[in-house]
């Protein structure tokens, strides 16, 4: 039900407007006086509603904030990234470039798996910080950290290569800002399909049960025509 709109006429004092002005001025004076007293407090965070960057970094950043990327290492200090390319494939802005490299004999303590990224580039100027790469990574290697101070003078400084990504990880580890490892969602097997009695329906279902692949969409009307004929 629509809310009824009450149309109130202006009272005389509202039409003259002077009294309303004085009421408004009382409100602003209250704000002014409060903030004037607040300015004299110690510390960079003086006025309660203003976070005075850069001295005042006291605003809480959410633990799941999506900031600058980093490539994680495991407990033994080995790089976890296996260069599978899942992050590059799912990136909506296509900002990740990966070159695969194979692990050689003496590099067991550097790389955790048999393959590693020889070159891993994230173009920060294309990235939209969605976090899909973090969700898609099977080894929890690429993670979006808490750093948001990313302004730079040149475009080249904004392309993160592998060295910078690992350095981000090291800095975050030193500051204690690492994210806890993501809990994997357990894979629940699909419930069994209900059985049906009639054979014709079984045949139709067997044909309908084929996976819907894009290239085979044209056959569906033909299949439906066939099954319609069979039912009739």
């Amino acid at each position: 039900m629509a809310k009824p709109v009450v149309k109130k006429e202006y009272t005389l004092s509202e039409r003259i407007y002077l009294w309303e002005i004085l009421k408004g001025m009382k409100l602003t004076w209250g704000h002014f006086w409060f903030n004037f007293k607040a300015c004299w407090r110690p510390g960079p965070h003086t006025i309660p509603t203003c976070w005075q960057y850069p001295e005042d970094r006291t605003r809480e950043i959410s633990p799941v904030f999506r900031g600058e990327h980093m490539l994680q290492k495991d407990d033994k200090g080995r790089e976890t990234c296996i260069a599978c390319g899942m992050c590059a494939k799912i990136c909506p802005a296509k900002c990740i470039t990966i070159k695969k490299g194979k692990r050689k004999e003496g590099e067991e303590d550097k790389y955790a798996a048999k393959t590693y990224p020889a070159a891993f580039e994230v173009d920060l100027l294309r990235c939209i910080f969605c976090g899909f790469c973090e969700d898609a990574c099977p080894k929890n290697a690429i993670v979006l950290g808490q750093n948001f101070e990313l302004a730079r003078y040149t475009k080249e400084e904004c392309i993160l290569d592998k060295r910078k990504l690992l350095m981000n990880y090291r800095k975050a580890k030193e500051e204690g800002k690492l994210k806890p490892p993501r809990k994997r969602v357990p894979v629940v097997p699909a419930p069994p399909k209900p059985e049906k009695d009639e054979k014709a329906d079984e045949g139709a279902e067997a044909k309908k049960g084929k996976p819907a692949v894009a290239g085979k969409a044209k056959k569906k009307p033909a299949e439906k025509a066939e099954s319609n004929e069979k039912e009739e």
């Binding site: 002005i21 704000h31 903030n35 203003c50």
Partner: protein
Amino acid sequence: MDDWLIAIIKVVCIWVWVLLIAVVMTWVERRGAALIQDRPGPNRAGPWGLFQPLADGIKLFTKEEIIPTKAQKLLYIMGPLLFSVPAFSAYAVVPFGDKIILGGKEIILQVSDVNIGFLFILAIGSMAVYGVILGGWGSNNKYSILGGLRSTAQMVSYEVPLGLALLAIVFVYGTFSLRDISLAQQGTFLGFLPNWGIFKQPLGFILFIVAAYAEANRVPFDLPEAESEIVSGYHTEYGSMRLGLYLFGEYVNLVTISGVIVALYFGSWHMPYIDLGAYLGPISWGIVSFCIFFLKVSFFLWMFVWVRWTLPRFRYDQVMGLGWRGLIPLGLFNIFITALFIQLTV
């Protein structure tokens, strides 16, 4: 010869003083606005941001000066001049204190005490309208034209209520000269009220203040300068120090208008019930009267800033409606009532 020297010294002093007040006003406006809006405002340029106006001035001086190719050069250059120079010169008849006796000579603290007092101010104030319209027209930009025309219409239409309120003052005090009106505001009337203009002319005071806000292009009447808010009205095409002259001239206008309001309605340099002139010596009375006047002027300057950040902007038809259909009838009514009172009581 001495009189010339004294006059020149007074002119220079007043000029420097008004400049300083206008500069400090920019700082007060910014910090005041910020504190009203729950934020700190400029605090990097010096302690509490005190050198912010200086930084603005230096930046405006060192910016590239652009004159648009198709702008009419003479009008473009005359605009800011015609706006700020009258603002300064109108202060010549505003008293800023009682007299001071230096070296046996009695010097009144007013640059020149002409006997047409505030008519001079009205006349000079009308020149500021030329500054706006020439600036708007000479810029060769449609937004500037619109802003300039709107500003002109507003300033011209609010000069009528201004004049009507001042006319009632003439009825009460019988003189145009601001110094004589200031002197007449001594003592009390009706036994307990100080003899100030605001108590003798309450309706006139309200009219004058509203018309003064409109003349100074201040919110709630600041249509001309932030008209579409998208482009800045008549000073769209101005950069560098010409813009500085426009912005500065606005603040100097404010100082002049505050001075006039205090001189006419708030008992210029008189303390409410105490007659300090009788107690203090000649030199200290001069200084003290100046301080009292300045305190009252700064209260009104603060009022300008305060109201700016309280009220939203009026729409153009509301501005015109208020001026012609609201204030002018009120002004005529005020004159009628004042004349009636004077006829009945004198």
